[in-house]
């Protein structure tokens, strides 16, 4: 007998679950699941976003970091036509959440290196 045929009629615990059956019948065009109760929000939003940092609520270190990243972004735009090796290797990555102080310090260090590289490129041109 073909191997797969021997699976026929063998129901797993998962298949017997009422939720599985409801989902299956929904997929086949049957009744849809009822919408969740609105009060059931189990995830509260986190506070520390970049917008809050922008508004000065993330502490001075985070504000300095954001300021620096923006300044460097502007500088890069201004230098786009600048000849020389590609600066892609010196990317500064702005994570979508405010990193912990240690992470910010690391990024500031990276920014300093980028500026040093820029300085040497300018002096060689």
């Amino acid at each position: 007998m073909a191997k797969k045929k021997q699976f026929a009629g063998k129901k797993t615990k998962l298949a017997r679950l009422p939720l599985t059956q409801a989902l299956t019948s929904q997929a086949e065009g049957g009744a849809t699941l009822s919408p969740p109760r609105p009060s059931l929000s189990l995830l509260a939003p986190e506070p520390r976003t970049w917008d809050e940092v922008n508004a000065g609520r993330g502490g001075p270190l985070a504000a300095a970091f954001l300021f620096l990243v923006r300044e460097l972004a502007d500088l890069k735009l201004a230098l786009q036509s600048f000849p020389g090796p590609d600066a892609a290797g010196h990317r500064i990555y702005l994570p979508d959440r405010v990193p912990p102080p240690a992470g910010i310090m690391q990024a500031l260090h990276q920014a300093r290196q980028s500026l040093q590289d820029l300085q040497s490129r300018l002096s060689h041109s």
Partner: protein, 272 residues
């Protein structure tokens, strides 16, 4: 408030520990302050990240034995910047037994976690649905269910959904609609086509609750545990490393949606 994620499947060997450790490391490397809570008395996550349970001062057992003990008192840093862990010790099994006499015992972990200051807390569960796992389910707001491609992993999933319904006191349909869990396929081996087809067929109703990232079978993930390192530090370019990086990004995307956070800022992202 921290985002508390349970990594559960009461079947053993489905990739819970491997997932907790590597997702935790990936989140820390992305700049998120992350805490791993090792809730398995075997302490595999603790050992896997380089902590020897026999030489540590405090552990998860203290949380269950000493009333009002805070998580921050027993969390210790790992070798990865931004990644802390509350280690497990074999005493945890006994501590959990004693807890059976305490009133409101399923809330012990949730209470201990109340004032922690991390972006993410990942809880690695033991392979059972006992008091430790109940505590974890009570405390968490999202569940990752690692499933190997085997029939009994599916049973594990079914039992877990039933348990969540009881512990969280919500209907299973609400658990589904509220986007409270994701199934993670682990140790996937393309060569096992007959089993794969069957299991994927069984999971079809849950497709939207299954991570699109699949963790392939990759021996380096096994070896990294011996080296007591996250996969990114053991073999950064191996398939396991790529899979867990992808999982981290997909996880963050879900988290953003769950919190209705605005999309990333494209004008600043990767601009330098």
């Amino acid at each position: 408030m921290s985002h508390i994620v349970a990594i559960i499947n009461q079947k053993g060997g489905t990739g819970k520990t491997t997932t907790t450790l590597n997702l935790g490391a990936a989140l820390a490397y992305q700049g998120y302050r992350t805490l791993i809570v090792d809730l398995d008395p075997q302490g595999h996550t603790s050992i896997g990240i380089g902590i020897e349970p026999d030489v540590i001062a405090g552990s998860m057992a203290d949380i269950f034995l000493i009333p009002k003990k805070r998580i921050s008192e027993v969390a210790i840093p790992t070798y990865i910047l931004g990644l802390d862990i509350v280690p497990a010790h074999i005493h945890l099994a006994q501590a959990a037994e004693q807890v059976y006499t305490r009133v409101f015992r399923e809330a012990i972990l949730a209470n201990a976690l109340k004032d922690v200051d991390y972006d993410f807390v990942l809880i690695d569960c033991p392979p059972s649905l006992g008091v430790l796992t109940t505590n974890c389910l009570y405390a968490c707001d999202f569940i990752i269910i690692p499933c190997q491609i085997s029939r009994y992993s599916l049973d594990g999933l079914a039992d877990l959904l039933t348990t969540v319904e009881t512990v969280k006191n919500v209907s299973m349909e609400d658990i589904f609609q509220e986007d409270m869990f994701r199934i993670l396929l682990t140790m996937f081996d393309k060569r096992n086509s007959i089993t794969n087809e069957y299991i994927l067929g069984q999971l079809k109703p849950y497709r939207e609750k299954t991570f699109t990232t699949i963790i392939m079978k990759n021996e380096a993930l096994n070896q990294a545990q011996i080296a007591q390192k996250a996969i990114f530090d053991y073999e950064p370019r191996c398939p396991g490393s790529v899979d867990y990086s992808k999982l981290c990004l997909e996880f963050l995307e879900i988290w953003r949606k769950r919190n209705s956070l605005p999309a990333k800022r494209p004008s600043l992202r990767g601009c330098l």
